[in-house]
Symmetry: C2
Subunit: 316 residues, 2 copies
Amino acid sequence: MADFVLGIDIGGTNTKFGLVDKKGKVSEEGSFPTHAKEKIEIFLAELKKATLPILENKSIVGVGVGAPNVNHFDGTIQQAANITWGDNVPLKKLIHDLFDLPVVLTNDANAAALGEMKYGGAQGMKDFVVFTLGTGLGSGFVVNGEIVHGHSGLAGEIGHVSVNPDGRYCGCGRRGCLETYVSATGIKKTVFKMMADYTRPSVLRDVSYNDMTAEMITKAARDHDYIAIKAFEYTGQIFGQKLADTVVHTSPEAIFLFGGLVNAGDYLLDPANYYMEKFMFKPFKKSVKLIPSSLMEKNAAVLGAAALGWEEFDIK
Amino acid sequence: MADFVLGIDIGGTNTKFGLVDKKGKVSEEGSFPTHAKEKIEIFLAELKKATLPILENKSIVGVGVGAPNVNHFDGTIQQAANITWGDNVPLKKLIHDLFDLPVVLTNDANAAALGEMKYGGAQGMKDFVVFTLGTGLGSGFVVNGEIVHGHSGLAGEIGHVSVNPDGRYCGCGRRGCLETYVSATGIKKTVFKMMADYTRPSVLRDVSYNDMTAEMITKAARDHDYIAIKAFEYTGQIFGQKLADTVVHTSPEAIFLFGGLVNAGDYLLDPANYYMEKFMFKPFKKSVKLIPSSLMEKNAAVLGAAALGWEEFDIK
């Protein structure tokens, strides 16, 4: 009987999972809403319910989990901006108690970076960064061929570099963090700014804030909607400027973009690339590739969390 | 007869050198003006003249050099902001030709980081950053116990993150780079801004721009000069805000500050610490020590460049 790791990617909006074999083949995929603003017990009950049918009669060697703001060293979620289960959630222990299986927990963006390195476009690269553009903005750094956890175990929280200290309020309690501009939530906020600033008609003017999704904005941009295109330009400009700052830190060979917002393709990538190069310190110009993850269809974070599981549990 | 490495630290204003034995003991130190805005031949002639007397009758195993904007991989200086010897200076080859000895060349801040790790306050640390605050602002990153060179070989150029895209003109051709605010040159510029903004008397009002030094500003601050103290506060605020952004990249255990400006002690450190903590993403608060280099009196960059030399040449 084949062995599997259960890979889980907990996002601010949805949680995805799948069974991953040793070669990185994903089967029995699924997803459910994270209920990030309710009690963690609801999440745990949903997780159990959703995964139970696929675990039956399978040989599961363990569970690999990616989640935002994970402290790699102690297996807790610490003060996540978009998940309000508490300041210090012992997620590794809770998931262990749920399944009675070995659990490894890491930052969702670090998991995506590991997936990209093992099975995706970063194979053979020693220095790269993965950005996950979902409800928030996550990032995972690889330096000298290794995931960067840093001294705190929390390295790579680029979603919380400052764009403008007087800017938008962030879930983290501060103002003007990058993820309030560059994420699915950020571009939605920007659409509302653009609808205020400009007079042009837009299909987006018929949608409430709570109903609007990044997919709608992407679709509107593809249909040449002025407001949607302006929102992508604004998002790409801020992203590009901040990427130029990130590049002078660790000088990556490539920056991989992952998450729903990346489906907008060139509407996001063109301005991001333009402003990254425009603001880049001269010796680094044209040194970095800004590209979509090659695992967009597969979920790099589920794969990466499972890959970490295979590393930790496969002691035969 | 004892063996030595000739360690050289090339700064935007002065070049320092010393003979360093295998245990990190420095002897026969000296310095001379870098002549960074003149032809490189002048620098090379001065270097030869200054070091010739100390090299006579000594067993020298090689030369270790730290300089700004060095590409670690090919031994060139690339488009340095404060040294205008050319866009692509083959410094390693030129110094090899000068001494006919093996040469190793690295970024001055990386050299300082190596010095701090081998002989200074970073002994035993796996993740830390060294900032060199001289004519410009250099930085060297250590992640997972290794110096970060990045894909380009130029990683760690934090002097060129953007404080304000409409801000002060930088030697690199852009505007508002961190080093135009936080460096010996930067604080001098800030003193001139403060003399314009405020009406208070100051000893600094008797000194021309070209005559003013960071030492004068430090001395004035110690004598309770309002303009000088305001200049340190302004410098420390910008530095602290940007340090908070740097910390979320690689999550260092400590940030070591090195260079003349650090002699101002708490005038710089207090506001830098205050604003770093104020702007820090919550999970990282109080996770980082901001401290002066423990090699301030010794020159971490000369030591570090020599240490790199010892690693490379000592093949017996």
